[in-house]
């Protein structure tokens, strides 16, 4: 083992020990499995404190520049820290829009002032960030966004409505896509991109109650909300380009994220484990031939995704359908997750009908809630149906 390898190994040991020692005890209430499930103050404060603790220990933003609060080391260190977080099943780093999308964007194209003002506070969770892209009438058709930003002296006046704003009621800042020019021939050219404060008068974030009965998103209304003109990122008219770059981070196609677990990864092993004492026809459910066949299909589906991640790096094995694996990744992962959770509930027998709040519910209703929440990923960030269109058009070259 070379010196560099030894150093990484030592580092892994160090993170692992830290995670083991500092993993929070069960708080006695359900923690969000993803950043889209932060529904109340109690959860928010718990996760804020946890992220702050990880950051203070030096295990978040490790590859971001030192002068803006990062660790200034090679990305491999963050990758190792993330793996250890996953392995120790610690809570998520919830400030995902800051850590994963806004932060990398500011790092890559922001001004010195923007970097100094925002980056460190994203890492420490002092500032929570949200995203104002989707609108009620333009969920998948982002280029058609209608929320208006009108320049008035050294301010922009914002009017309009955004929806599906994750943590909109908790956030200090929003990455906002708004229309500064309604008259451009191409709809995309009228859009601009803002790093907008949420604490100005005229912004109202109304929590949306989700199908789980919990909260996590808001509808965000702008009524003559005035934000400083220097919140504009880049220049007027560059909004679409910047938004597209942001989506590259969101889809994982572009590196730069600060790290941390975005979501609790629930695997097929977890699903099999939960079955422990469940029976079917008086026998352990895992002995049932029909269940076994279905389960093997599920295992294979998950394995295919894992293997696909490996194969994506081998040019000779991807050259005939370039882009297929990365472009279909979201579609496959999210649909697989949804089906797996649905299946997991079906295996529980009569208990499958119980829900969070019932003492008898298996793992507190974890799977039921996880299934309902899984739709946030098959719908958010472009529905599976839109994803399928993208793959069909960009990989197979089918007409629009």
């Amino acid at each position: 083992m070379g010196a560099a390898e030894q150093e990484l190994k030592d580092f892994r040991g160090q993170v692992s020990a830290w995670m083991k020692d500092n993993k929070p005890a069960d708080p006695g209430f359900l923690l969000p499995q993803t950043f889209m499930e932060v529904g109340d103050e109690r959860q928010l404060e718990f996760l804020r404190e946890w992220q702050h603790k990880i950051y203070s220990a030096g295990y978040l933003g490790m590859a971001w520049p030192k002068e803006y609060g990062g660790g200034g080391v090679a990305p491999i260190y963050q990758a190792i820290a993330d793996q250890e977080m996953r392995r120790h099943a610690v809570p998520i780093c919830f400030n995902v829009i800051g850590l994963g999308w806004a932060g990398p964007l500011i790092n890559d194209i922001g001004t010195e002032e923007e970097k100094a003002r925002y980056l460190k506070r994203i890492l420490s969770a002092e500032d929570v960030w949200c995203q104002g892209f989707s609108e009620p009438d333009h969920g998948s058709d982002l280029g058609n966004a209608q929320t208006k930003a009108v320049r008035d002296g050294d301010e922009y006046v914002i009017n309009g409505q955004k929806i599906w704003t994750t943590m909109g009621n908790f956030a200090q800042y929003m990455i906002l896509l708004a229309r500064t020019n309604p008259d451009t021939p191409r709809k995309y050219d009228g859009l601009s991109f803002f790093l907008a404060p949420m604490d100005v008068p005229g912004i109202e974030a109304r929590p949306i109650r989700k199908l789980t009965g919990e909260y996590g998103f808001t509808e965000t209304f702008f009524t003559d909300a005035r934000i400083p003109a220097d919140c504009l990122m880049g220049e007027e008219g560059q909004g679409w380009k910047i938004a597209m770059q942001t989506l590259q981070y969101e889809r994982g196609a572009e590196a730069g994220a600060a790290g941390g677990q975005m979501m609790v990864r629930i695997t097929i092993d977890d699903m099999i484990k939960q079955l422990g004492d469940v029976t079917r026809d008086g026998e352990p459910v895992l002995k049932d031939p029909v269940v076994r066949d279905e389960l093997v299909k599920m295992i294979m589906e998950e394995k295919a995704v894992v293997l696909g991640e490996r194969r994506a790096h081998i040019t000779a094995l991807t050259s005939d359908y370039p882009g297929s694996l990365p472009l279909s990744q979201k579609l496959r992962m999210t649909e697989m997750t949804r089906r797996m959770r649905q299946f997991a509930i079906g295996l529980q027998g009569a208990e499958g009908a119980l829900y969070v709040g019932d003492d008898q519910a298996r793992q507190g209703g974890f799977w039921q809630r996880a299934y309902l929440n899984s739709f946030s990923a098959t719908i958010g960030g472009g529905t599976s149906q839109v994803q399928a269109n993208i793959v069909a058009e960009h990989v197979l070259g089918l007409p629009k």
Partner: protein
């Protein structure tokens, strides 16, 4: 322990180069028009084309160097077979490779050195395993008696009509045995060709009754059982590789049609009812390829590991279902055209029916995967 287990996937430079050559070769030598000229021939393939493949060294890829092969293992046959599958090129490469593997893996490379050398130079070998339609039936009724005479018939013997050698699975006393039979030891009446749904393939029922196996041309014992198990898995892998190639070709056929056919004033590929299943075929092909090359990565010349067994079974279970889905949708999406013999969709849907049965269908393998994956929990 995780049910995900080993997920290694790699391709050597040698394999990548061979893949390039094989793709280029199969594409240029076996366009669909050429495939169609072979549908009703006796051999099912162009013998001179097979000779060219042999000259490229493909018949000996997995054979030991001592027998005139290149000793690169079955993993290196995989990209060639996938390329053949993509071109729907029917040749005895899989049959020959498996016949040789069976002898080599039974530890009989030295005993059969001259036969193996002949295989490396293009003689066709095949394995005679099945006696009925059940890939899960391990009973052997065909016997090799104390005098070295065979009694019994074998079914669905691939490439039996053109094979120079048959590696016949028989029972010798209480042990499984392998007997090498040369084609000239059989009467013409002994081989009854099957009429196959896939017209690019050939197989036959073969009656070996009364064949006197030459001295030194058979072996039996535990080594045979181990080799047999491995060759069934490698057969599953090679058929999966071929099916993956065919499914990709089928997808291309579908996509071409969706991009050119107009209905109601629009290219039909713009309708989501056709577009989305096309993406489903693509992701299925992606999965199948990942499984196939993962399996190739974890196999070796040693007895196959548990990981390799899991990988080969997954590859077969996945790739055959993929081709089945692709072929089925290809017919449907071609509309009235799809119902004709002229439309290439028929080649794929027929290939799919043949493929799913070879070396056990998806249910066969998933049943065994369930034991491998779930009973150790």
């Amino acid at each position: 322990m995780s049910v995900m287990g080993n997920s290694a996937l790699a391709l050597s430079e040698e394999q990548a180069m061979l893949m390039d050559v094989a793709r280029e070769f199969c594409q240029s030598k076996s366009p669909i028009a050429e495939v169609r000229t072979q549908l009703e021939t006796v051999s099912g393939y162009d013998i001179s084309l097979w000779d060219e493949m042999v000259n490229l060294g493909w018949a000996g890829i997995a054979l030991p160097e001592s027998c005139g092969g290149s000793g690169m293992g079955v993993a290196t046959v995989v990209p060639v077979v996938e390329a053949m599958g993509k071109a729907m090129l029917g040749t005895p490469l899989v049959s020959s490779t498996l016949a040789a593997q069976l002898l080599v893996r039974a530890g009989a490379a030295a005993q059969f050195e001259s036969v193996l050398s002949e295989i490396a130079t293009g003689s066709v070998g095949t394995v005679a395993l099945l006696e009925n339609a059940d890939w899960g039936d391990d009973n052997i009724h065909c016997t090799l008696d104390a005098d070295g005479v065979l009694h019994g018939s074998k079914a669905f013997v691939a490439d039996a009509g053109t094979a120079h050698f048959f590696v016949v699975l028989a029972r010798h006393g209480d042990f499984p045995a392998l007997a090498l039979v040369r084609a000239e030891q059989l009467t013409a009446a002994a081989i009854s060709p099957n009429v196959l749904i896939d017209q690019t393939k050939r197989s036959a029922n073969v009656d070996f009754t009364g064949v006197q196996v030459a001295e030194g041309s058979w072996l039996s014992g535990e080594a045979v059982a181990g080799a047999l198990r491995d060759v069934r898995l490698l057969g599953a892998l090679l058929v999966a590789a071929e099916a993956t190639g065919s499914a990709a070709a089928c997808l291309d056929t579908v996509v071409d049609y969706l991009k050119t056919r107009k209905q109601f004033g629009k290219l039909i590929g713009s309708y989501q009812a056709l577009k989305h299943p096309a993406v489903d075929i693509l992701t299925a092909v992606d999965s199948a390829r990942s499984f196939v090359y993962h399996a190739a990565t974890v196999t070796s010349d040693d007895p196959l590991s548990r990981d390799a067994e899991i990988a080969c079974r997954m590859a077969k279970a996945d790739a055959t279902e993929t081709l089945l889905y692709a072929g089925d949708r290809a017919v449907q999406f071609h509309g009235g055209m799809g119902f004709t013999y002229e439309c290439d969709a028929q080649l794929y849907i027929r290939r799919a029916q043949w493929t799913r049965q070879q070396f056990g269908d998806a249910q066969h393998h998933r049943k065994r995967l369930a034991s491998l994956l779930l009973d150790s929990q």
